[in-house]
């Protein structure tokens, strides 16, 4: 059990002059789950990718079972029984499960692929995971969780002694994570050395034996789980002291007027129901948090209000904006924008920013009407507006001409929020607003929003699966589960723990998952 399967010493790595790993030391033993914990961008994935040969390290040594190795590409690593499940889904969606598992090394005889044998081997591998995914199914037709199983099966088909999982829970719902944990436990019992990359603290306690915290490319320390508690871990990870449990005081004032009201909203496509019977109100100057798991229907609800849900979905119900009924058939992002609704997407790279353009370009994009005469954009007006917004959102560096791709994640998010402030939104929908944002910038983002709420009576809908965020930022909390609003509470009446139980549905379920470990 104590045999060291992988040992990495003094790993250094830089990209184009920017150092991302500094003298990193890391080891993992056979039969242990070693969590590699850090904020986004801390260097977790890069570290493991240098081992796999995806990136080339500048210096450092890698020992596998006591032998010095250096892999030039993932294939070499896999042949030496080191394999990794990458964060981005790496499957070919048009091909079958079996072919995806054995891609690049399909068994063949005299140059001809042995399809029957391939399928048989694939079902063996899937069977050893306890997976029921059929080997001849086409990957594109599978659910996300099943695709992930295929990906794990592919990595396992190399019969690894070192097995790396990069944020495997990122796209999974809570139930599916339970299944993932079972799988990890099975592997641990088989004596595989498992590296479990995550930025979710609770997962460390759920699954890991040891935990290494990495911050800004440097190792903060390695700890046995038994010697850790949550607040300690948060401090190691962020480098800042934080109180473990958020406690809110009773400061809630019911707003006089509501900016938006939903009555009996439903959305579905054929048999697929996104959400049902949603009733809610958001007041002027109020932040309403909607807590729920991934897939609970939050994003879809937000997109409905913004008119961005694909037209293939059937929407029924009534929406009142500023007391006026809204024609849902004609609602589109451009109409919603004109009404005064802004939407901060969860997918910042694809839907939030235009990375190759300047801060100024991005900020005035939804706010042309404020900087134009006729159809002509007046440079001076644009610069004045943008200067004000940059100040409001505390953008760093405060340069309107800088390309957005050169900003940090947190500052990119400030640009996305800023553009809706520029558009003079009166209702702002924030979908997972601090995902991929470092802790320091998170607080700044909350403060920017709070200030607008206080001073300009902005109404905010905060959609989040991060319960801590909901506890910190919301004035009033709705819980959404399986497409329904199930609870309504005020922050001072509840706790993160209680919210978790609400979000998961039942207390027993939450307890049940813990006991599986």
């Amino acid at each position: 059990m104590d045999e060291v399967a992988l040992k990495m010493t003094n790993i250094n790595k830089s990209f184009g002059g920017v150092q991302v790993l500094y003298d990193v030391n890391f080891d993992v033993r056979a039969g242990e789950v070693h969590a590699l914990l850090g904020e986004n961008g801390a260097g977790k994935s890069v570290l493991m990718k240098t081992l796999m040969g995806v990136h080339r390290p500048d210096s450092g040594d890698y020992l596998i079972a006591g032998k010095n190795v250096r892999f030039n590409n993932p294939t070499e690593a896999q042949r030496n029984r080191v394999s990794m499940v990458y964060q981005e889904f790496g499957l070919v969606k048009y091909l079958t499960v079996a072919e995806n598992i054995f891609m690049g090394r399909l068994p063949s005889r005299r140059g001809m692929i042995r399809w029957g044998y391939t399928r048989k081997r694939a079902s063996e591998v899937l069977g050893s995971l306890g997976s029921s995914v059929p080997p001849s199914a086409v990957v594109g037709d599978l659910k996300v969780a099943d695709q992930q199983e295929v990906e794990i099966a592919r990595a396992l088909s190399y019969d690894p002694v070192v097995f790396i999982m990069d944020e495997p829970s990122a796209a999974l719902s809570y139930d599916e994570i339970g299944h993932l944990y079972e799988l990890v436990n099975t592997l641990r019992e088989k004596g595989v050395a498992i590296v479990y990359i995550t930025h979710k603290l609770n997962e460390v306690f759920d699954i890991a034996d040891r935990c290494t915290v990495i911050r800004d490319g440097r190792i903060e320390g390695t700890y046995a789980i038994s010697e850790l508690d949550l607040s300690m871990l948060v401090e190691k990870m962020t480098g800042k002291k934080v109180s473990a449990e958020v406690v809110r005081e009773d400061t809630y004032k019911k707003p006089k007027e509501s900016i938006i009201e939903l009555h009996g909203m439903n959305a579905k496509e054929k048999d697929k129901v996104l959400y049902t019977d949603v009733d809610m109100k958001v007041g002027k100057g109020e932040i309403v948090g909607i807590a729920g798991q991934i897939g609970a229907g939050k994003t879809e609800l937000g997109k409905t209000i913004f008119g961005a849900l694909p037209k293939t979905f059937t929407i029924t119900g009534e929406m009142l904006f500023d007391g006026e009924p809204v024609n849902m058939k004609k609602l589109s992002p451009s109409v919603a924008k004109k009404m005064g609704i802004g939407f901060v997407t969860e997918d910042r790279q694809a839907e939030g920013i235009i990375a190759e353009q300047s801060v100024l370009f991005n900020l005035i994009l939804p706010a042309f009407q404020r900087v134009t005469r006729g159809f002509v954009i007046i440079g001076g007006m644009a610069r004045d507006l943008v200067r004000g917004i940059i100040k409001d959102v505390a953008l760093r560096p405060p340069e309107p001409g800088r390309l957005v791709k050169f900003l940090s994640g947190g500052n990119q998010q400030k640009v996305v929020i800023g553009k809706w402030l520029a558009a003079e939104s009166r209702l702002l929908i924030l979908d997972e607003p601090t995902r991929g944002v470092d802790v320091g910038a998170r607080e700044e983002i909350y403060e920017v929003v709070r200030q607008q709420v206080r001073e300009n009576g902005l109404g905010v809908i905060l959609l989040s699966s991060d319960l801590r965020e909901i506890m910190i930022a919301a004035d009033r909390i709705l819980v959404m589960r399986l497409g329904r609003i199930t609870h309504e509470v005020l922050p001072h009446e509840t706790s993160e723990r209680q919210l978790l139980h609400f979000v998961l549905g039942e207390e027993e379920e939450a307890e049940g998952k813990k006991s599986k470990k």
Partner: protein, 339 residues
């Protein structure tokens, strides 16, 4: 405006004008153009740089340059327009058949004046472009395929009108747009049209809501859509503009040569893509400048003109064009990787 002007303002400060010129994104291209002109001047013993000849270059380049600007609109959204040659032929066939005094070709039964003929050409160009625009923006057919199809359709329309014959003897006033000078013996009209189109499009790109929306739709369709930009309308409109400008380009060539045959515009789509690519348009969309495209068109125009003076055969010209295109994209790719 936006990116460009802001950056310039921020950076300029202490550094001199020379520094600004060199740092400008089109500086390389300007230098290349100067070098090409110099090379041609030497090779032709000065003939290439005679004022008379320079005017000729501008006139000859006008058609391709105008089409390249249309092409640049499409490339800016991440699409491509292979239909420009077809549309230029189709519209020219219509226009020449309307305006010819050759009796058997007349569509209207009389030789139409230019104020009827030219708008008809532009309308047909825009209409053919609208087919691509509709198919691309509504059904999401790749631009490559849609415009390939429209290229064929437009060519077919041209054949239908001309019956495959060469049309000549257009009404005299048409000459003005291809061969005229303002004032007499001064600046060529075709060149003026080219420059006016370039200036107008520059203004549209950088100083209007529409232009900035096209940039946004090309840079990130998802972001543009969620910022309230009507992405589909942008995609539709660029093909219409490209079709319209192809019609305008066709008109200028028809007026210059005063004859139209089915092979008059062969290779125009490729030349226009080449000019846009040499001019620094990113084929992935969202990046590029009108100035670059104009310079790109002039580089090609100067080379073609020089080769013609030297009496080189047309295939050597196409070979050189091929090499230049590959090189300019290779340099762009290499530079982007270097960063």
């Amino acid at each position: 405006m936006t990116t460009e002007s802001v950056e310039r303002r921020d950076k300029a400060g202490a550094r001199g004008v020379a520094g600004r010129v060199f740092r400008h994104e089109n500086a390389t291209l300007g230098i290349i153009l100067a070098a090409v002109v110099a090379a041609m001047a030497i090779a032709t013993g000065g003939k290439a740089v005679a004022v008379r000849n320079m005017k000729m270059v501008l006139v000859e380049t006008a058609t391709m340059g105008i089409c390249a600007i249309g092409q640049a609109f499409v490339i800016l959204t991440g699409g491509i327009d292979l239909s420009v040659a077809g549309i230029a032929f189709g519209t020219s066939a219509l226009g020449s058949a309307m305006m010819t005094t050759q009796e058997f070709q007349q569509i209207l039964g009389y030789a139409a004046p230019v104020w009827q003929g030219i708008p008809a050409m532009l309308a047909l160009g825009a209409g053919l472009g609208a087919i691509s625009g509709l198919v691309v923006s509504r059904i999401k057919v790749p631009g490559l395929i849609a415009t390939l199809g429209v290229w064929q359709i437009a060519h077919g329309v041209g054949f239908f009108i001309t019956g495959g014959f060469t049309i000549t003897r257009m009404v005299t006033p048409l000459k003005f747009f291809g061969q005229g000078f303002i004032p007499e013996g001064g600046f060529p009209v075709a060149g003026i049209i080219f420059i006016v189109v370039a200036v107008v499009c520059y203004f549209i790109w950088h100083h209007t809501v529409y232009g900035q929306s096209v940039f946004a739709a090309g840079g990130s369709p998802g972001t543009a859509y969620l910022s309230g930009v009507k992405v589909k309308n942008m995609q539709f409109s660029v093909y219409v503009i490209s079709g319209l400008l192809a019609g305008l380009g066709g008109m200028i060539r028809t007026a210059r040569v005063m004859s139209v045959s089915y092979s008059s515009f062969d290779g125009l789509e490729l030349q226009s893509i080449a000019a846009a690519v040499i001019g620094g348009m990113s084929l992935f969309g969202g990046k590029g400048t009108i100035v670059g495209v104009v310079l790109g068109a002039l580089v090609i125009g100067v080379i073609r003109n020089g080769m013609a003076i030297l009496g080189a055969d047309p295939f050597l010209e196409s070979t050189i064009l091929g090499v230049i295109v590959i090189l300019s994209v290779a340099i762009d790719t290499w530079r982007r990787r270097g960063r």
